[in-house]
């Protein structure tokens, strides 16, 4: 299975408060607040960290099994991609 790389949309603005990311959705001007797992994924979505490494970090930091972590990350990608907050590619994002 091909590796996936997550990249935050450069159009977003966000801050982390008490371990939870608060993200402004650029198109609807609505706020999205992520839980701790979502925040870990979001902060790792730099276009360079493979999804498999993010799954490993989730397993390590939240004591969950890899299958559950993979489901979490798949749900996360689907939701945030639909809101225009995240893109996914099979290659590392090159610096602009």
């Amino acid at each position: 299975m091909a590796e996936a790389y997550l990249t935050q949309s450069p159009r977003t603005a966000w801050r982390v408060y008490d371990g939870e990311a608060v993200i402004l959705c650029p198109d609807s001007s609505t706020l999205n607040t992520l839980n701790a797992v979502g925040t870990l994924i979001w902060e790792s979505a730099d276009g360079k960290t493979p999804a498999s490494a993010i799954v490993a970090r989730i397993c390590e930091e939240f004591d969950v099994d890899p299958e559950r972590a993979r489901r979490d990350i798949a749900d996360f990608i689907a939701k945030l991609s639909a809101r225009g907050l995240l893109t996914v590619s099979e290659t590392i994002r090159q610096a602009p």
Partner: protein
């Protein structure tokens, strides 16, 4: 031709108009906010004869170049260039809106754009100064902004409707504005350090509850006056709002209509 100088929240504007009626309206509406010294902005206001075709609700969008925005409503059409610090507006003589309302409405939108560069926001909020310190009370229509202002007879009114806050050197300053709500009174042209932001709701007792920055940001953003939808400028507004809630203590304030809410604020 008339040229007037109006200063709000530390931004001075030279207002130019050929129309004596417009000059009179600006002079009356912004009474107490006339200023002197070099202008930061130049605003041209015209009142052409006859009515012009125009849109309904407020539409603010980028107009060809990154720093310029078109600003349209059914009673005015204009542009705001935050790079050149110029604005122009034509009043379209809508039969249902006075020139006074049209000019003030355009001014509010102009300031919402101009303040981003100055690290400031226009907020739906009453604001008051007590003992040299500013308190801001935010909420939508009906939340109690005017009530709070009316009950605060020992405080200086900065606004009962739209307040301006600017972040400077890591602290927040609240400014008086001429933008008036139900109280029909302009605020005073003065500034004070902002020491608390309170998000209003009616209740049967006075109570404050501290908010974390994330909660406060979720309360504040819907009350920020801002119409442009371009991602880069909305992101800039988000960052100013985030800096604000990280700097100023924020609270939910439940209150009933008597001045006792000040006790829970001061003692809380």
């Amino acid at each position: 031709m008339a040229e007037l100088s109006i200063g709000i929240a530390g931004l001075r504007a030279a207002v130019v108009t050929q129309d004596p009626k417009v000059a009179r309206v600006v002079r009356d509406r912004f009474k107490g906010f006339d200023s002197s010294g070099p202008a930061d902005w130049r605003i041209e206001i015209s009142l052409p004869p006859g009515s012009l075709p125009s849109s309904g609700d407020v539409v603010v969008k980028r107009d060809g170049v990154p720093a310029r925005f078109s600003v349209n409503r059914h009673d005015f059409t204009g542009t705001v260039d935050v790079g050149e610090r110029t604005a122009d507006v034509m009043l379209t003589q809508a039969h249902d809106v006075s020139e006074e309302v049209s000019i003030e409405s355009f001014w509010r939108i102009l300031y919402s754009l101009a303040l981003v560069e100055a690290h400031g926001l226009v907020v739906h909020a009453a604001s008051l100064v007590r003992d040299g310190r500013a308190y801001l009370f935010s909420g939508r229509s009906g939340s109690g902004k005017t009530t709070v202002a009316r009950l605060s007879t020992d405080a200086t009114l900065l606004s009962d409707e739209l307040s301006i806050v600017r972040m400077t050197k890591g602290s927040a300053v609240c400014f008086g504005t001429p933008f008036r709500g139900e109280l029909a009174l302009a605020g005073e042209d003065r500034a004070a350090p902002l020491v608390g932001m309170y998000f209003l709701r009616h209740g049967d007792r006075h109570a404050v509850q501290a908010l974390g920055p994330g909660q406060a940001l979720a309360r504040l953003l819907p009350n920020v006056l801002f119409f442009a939808r371009e991602a880069d400028v909305t992101a800039a507004v988000f960052r100013i709002a985030a800096d604000l809630v990280e700097t100023v203590p924020c609270f939910d304030l439940s209150f009933r209509p008597d001045p006792g809410f000040w006790e829970v604020i001061v003692n809380g």
